[in-house]
Structure formats: C-alpha cells, structure tokens
Symmetry: C2
Subunit: 349 residues, 2 copies
C-alpha cells in the first residue's frame, strides 16, 4: 500500500457541457447589458420556481438593474420566509395586464412552455423584449431568443448557479445562496430524488460555505405542518387500507374528518407522497370527499415504472408517471374507491 | 462586471486539521502493518456505527487482513440490506466471551467510552492488542493507544472517509461507499442536522461519484415503515394534544392502540421526532402505556436550547439536551401525562 504524500485528493471538477457553457456565457453577457428585466415563472410555483427567481432577482439588483418579478399565484406558506418575497409583484386573476415596452429582457424560469404562463402568454409573445429561458424540464417549446437548458439537472436552481458563477465579480450574498439552496433542496426532495448526483452536492457545499444554513432552511421549509393538518393526517393514516400484498395503500379522507379537525383540502399537502415510505408500497392513493363541490378528489403517487398517470387516465384524469390525479362528480365514495383499487391491479401486475 | 475566462471555479479543498492529519497518517500506517483486526462499536448500533464498521471491514479485507466485526446487539431491520452484514459475529447476551490473543489490533468505532462496550469492556481492557478509537463524540476516555477524533465532524463515517483517503491505493468499491454514505446520511438526518457543512456535501459527492446510489440508499433506510406501524402512528397523530400556544405537543398511545393495530413498542420508532415538524413545536412528548411491564414509557424531543433532558431528570430519567426519556411504574396514564405537561412549562417559559 502506498501512502499519499499530498493527502488531499483533488476534488472532481464540475462537469462541463460545451453547448451549455456557450449559452451560459452568452446569457450572462446579455444580462449585464440589460437595464429593465422582467422575471416570470409558472403558476402554482414551487420552491425551485420561487427560489430561482429570487436568486436571479437578488443577483440582478446587486448589478444595479431594474428588476420586476411577477407571480400569478400566491406563495406557499412555507416559502414566505425567503428574503425578497415582499418585492414580488402579484398578478392574481388580472387578465388585462400589459407588459410595459420598457422591459428590454424577459427571463422565464423553471418553465419552457409559454402556454403555462396562462394570462401572461399573449403579452409575452407580443413583447419585443429579448426572451431568455432557464429551465430543466423536457421538450422546451420554441418561443425565446436564448435557452439555458439542461434536462439532466436536478433543478432550475442548479442551472442558475452554473450561470451565475460565470460572473467572477458576483458577490455570493446570503440571500442569493439561501434562494438557490431552497430551489435545489425542494426539487431534490432534500437530496434524495433521481438526479441528485455528486455535482448537486458540490454546488450545495459551495452554497453552505457562502452562508446558506441547511438546518434553518430545512426547518423553515419542511417543519411547518399546521397542527390541525397533523391531526387530519393522523385520521387518514389510522384508516389506511392495504391491497395487493402491500403494493398499494389507500388513504380515505371523508367530509367528517375535515370537520373534526377544522381543516381543508389544502391541508392534505404531502399526505399521498408520504405513504410511499411504507414498506413494500409502490403506489399510493389519497381519496378525499369534497362536499362543497359534490366531488371526490383523487391523488395518486407511484414509484419507478408503476404508472400513476395510467391509472388516472382511466378516469379522465392525468399527470406524470409518478404523480397524477383525477376527480369524480356526484359519485359514491366507497364505490369510487373500489373502482380505483380494481383498476390499479392492471398496473400493479 | 468581469467574466471569468476559466469558468470553473476551484472547488474549496477539504479543511485540514494538522493534529488530525498526523493521527490519520499514523493510524493508516498501523492498519497496513496489522494482520488480525477486531472491530467493535456500541450496543444498539445506529447507521453510523454499523456503516462505519462495515466500511472499515470492507477496506481491511480488500487489504487482505483477517477482520472480525463483533456486534453486541441485533441490527435494525432497515440496515440489514447493507453488504457485509452476513459477516458480522453476533455476541448477544454472552458474558463469557474471550478476545483471542491473536488479535494484534482492536478498532473501536463511533464510541469513545469503554464502559459503553458493556460485557466486552474487561476483555478489551485486558487485551494486549493495539487499540484505536475512531469517533466524533465529545469527551473521549483514556483507554486506547491511538485516537482519530473530530468532535466537529458530522459522523464517524465522515472521519473514516478522511482516514481511508490517506491510502492512495484504496479501491473505492461500491460496498465501501454505500456503507460510508449510510453512516453519514443517518447521522446527519439526511443532511439536515447541525454539523452538516460544505465538507460533508463534498465527501458525499465523492461517494456518489464512486458508486453510492442516493435514491436507493434513502429508500432502503427510510422507506421501510411497517404498514401496521403507520396505522399506529395515525392513531397517535389523530389524538395529538397541543399546549402552551403550540410549543408543546403530546402524543398519547394507549394499550388498546397497540392491540388495534397489532403493534409493539418498537413500532413507535421515529414518532416523537416527527412531531418536531409541526409548525411552532419546540418540544414533543410521546407517552405510551406498556401494560406488560405495568409501565408508562415517555420519550421527549426538543429543539435548540429547550432541554428535553431537564424535563426527564425531574422524573428520574435522563438523556441528551434534545433527546431524553423516563419511565413510570404502576402510574395512572392521565395523571402522569398531566404531570409532564405541567413540569414542561418550567422549561418552555
């Protein structure tokens, strides 16, 4: 056995994709020459969407740019602690919003399909500003001037980090690092989803070195379950049903459960995903009675190749392979549940 | 704004503690000159204890050493997937075990107090083998020949990684990397506890590059909740009680809850910690009725400076500042619960 005299092994460098590097260089150059910038992201924004927009917002204001960050949906409660949230321009239910001709650049983050911009779509299409897309989703649509896309990236936050580091004079402030940390943390499920590779951890290492506090940020984002929602979750778990040798679990939540815990639909956030932590489960179904709309609402999650989407499609719903949903109007709760369980067998076997 | 021509910033190197480096060099040298090694760790071993021992076991067998890894407790179910588990020599309830004089080296991992070795204590003290301690806990006791200690490290796995990288000819096999990944992942609560710094993420990045699969390892360790335990958790959550403006939550689990879900005490693993995810909670108490022993068993967890230990001490229990417990014999459930809640006010205000 040989012993190293230089005991510290050279850390692997971040991987370089030539085309990505070229785009990044073009875009960081364009940003420095811009004066008035508009930042937009998708509706129902998640941690990656909001974190990435805020990081870019903080960077651009550091560079003395005029920046407007528009959101078309409210911000989830657990992300409202982020620095800069008070600077967001909210555009809720306003269909007649006009994008000022003063904007020379529009940056679209965590989104590559203009149709997901809903009411802003036409305005952005008509705008003469330079349009830049920074995103990690599959199949980008052709509507922008510049694209910084890496579909193998864990998150838009990861891509934005690689863009911003092209600016050697950047000041990695705590607010930039916290925003990027939250973007990456949420889109990797706290470093446990597919695409969490060595590169993600090396970027996160730098963000922590520059001032992001992993303990605080985890607490802010994940340790915010409302007490009543925790009780509702308890009722759901206590009534869990297991099928097909434990491959499928079903959580029924009835109207009286909401009443008993003084909760609403939104309080079930995260329930159906959490069921995948049960030993042997490859598919989970949350079935909720929403009497206000005479509706039975169904959320489906799955692991690997088992398709939640295919189950939902059977009932007029949709979604992704591992996260989908559907709704039933004026239907019987128990009958609907049984239909779902029966149909699931086609996917699980 | 200046643009970097060399766009990839030099990654920060791992921090170097001179004394630590010197010890590591001495110890890796000693290991290569050893022939017969015994590895031991504490009773009720966790992921860091087992992961670190297995990583060292795999490394030493790679170096053609004779290695014996002794455990005095069974292995938690969720760690039994680890490669090498079948090589462990179990020493359960054997008080007359003799350590062979053939061992030239004993390595004690994730432990620095010989008294925690229980029945092995005297044997190790009497053994003439060279004793090495690799650990990250506070206040090491004086019983070994060599120490590799860093009390600021996240885990023993982190320290062991830094030791093994001193051997330039090491083959970072998948089994070594998986063991170290599990050690670090479990002791950092999946990268969210105090001491999760940039260095931890850089080490984890290397382990992933060398073949540790973060998705698989997370699933193996954390997504193994037994179905019945999930139902028991549901019953507990559905009966949650909140005190002092939400700073304290109490989860009562009665004998009938165990009966109804066909579960046992061990199935409550993780319940009391999970309560700290509820918004505003700084202390959580799990109070369980164990009729087999006429006992009420109490687990307490807390955040920051709020002392779970101080609450437990009031009732003859003990533990750490953020994790403690106590037991009551032949006591009334409701009366005991009220005593705990009342006493907690002294800590919370």
């Amino acid at each position: 056995m040989e012993l190293q005299t230089n005991t510290i092994k050279e850390i692997k460098r971040l991987k370089i994709i030539p085309e990505f590097e070229k785009s990044a260089f073009t875009i960081i150059n364009h940003l420095q020459n811009s004066k008035n910038l508009l930042l937009v992201t998708h509706t129902n924004p998640d941690g990656d969407a909001i974190g990435s927009c805020l990081a870019l917002y903080h960077y651009l204001t550091q560079k003395n740019k005029n920046v407007t960050f528009i959101l078309q949906s409210p911000i989830p409660t657990n992300l409202q602690f982020l620095n800069g949230i008070d600077k967001i321009h909210f555009l809720l239910n306003q269909n007649n919003f006009k994008i000022s001709p003063d904007f020379d650049t529009i940056v679209v983050l965590d989104l590559n399909d203009i149709s997901r911009l809903k009411t802003l779509r036409d305005e952005i299409e008509l705008s003469k500003a330079t349009k830049i897309v920074i995103d990690h989703h599959q199949e980008p649509k052709d509507f922008a001037d510049y694209y910084l896309i890496d579909t193998t990236a864990s998150s838009t936050g990861e891509i934005l980090f690689k863009l911003l580091r092209k600016d050697s004079s950047i000041n990695w402030t705590k607010e930039i690092c916290e925003s990027l940390y939250v973007a990456i943390m949420t889109d990797t499920g706290n470093f446990r989803f597919e695409r969490t590779d060595g590169e993600v951890h090396r970027i996160v290492a730098e963000l922590i070195d520059y001032g992001a506090d992993p303990v605080k940020l985890y607490n802010e984002v994940y340790n915010k379950i409302p007490f009543n929602a925790a009780k509702l979750m308890g009722l759901g778990y206590s009534k869990l049903e297991s099928y097909y040798g434990g491959k499928l679990v079903v959580m029924p939540i009835r109207h009286k459960d909401f009443l008993e815990t003084n909760t609403q639909e939104e309080d079930t956030e995260g329930f159906v995903e959490s069921l995948l932590s049960i030993d042997g489960v490859v598919m989970s179904i949350l079935i909720m009675e929403v009497v206000e709309r005479n509706e039975i609402r169904v959320s489906i999650r799955s692991k690997g190749d088992y398709s939640a989407r295919n189950l939902a499609l059977n009932f007029g719903g949709g979604g992704h392979i591992n996260a989908a949903g559907c709704r039933f109007q004026n239907a019987d709760f128990e009958v609907t549940k049984q239909k779902l369980v029966d149909k699931a067998s086609e996917i699980l076997y």
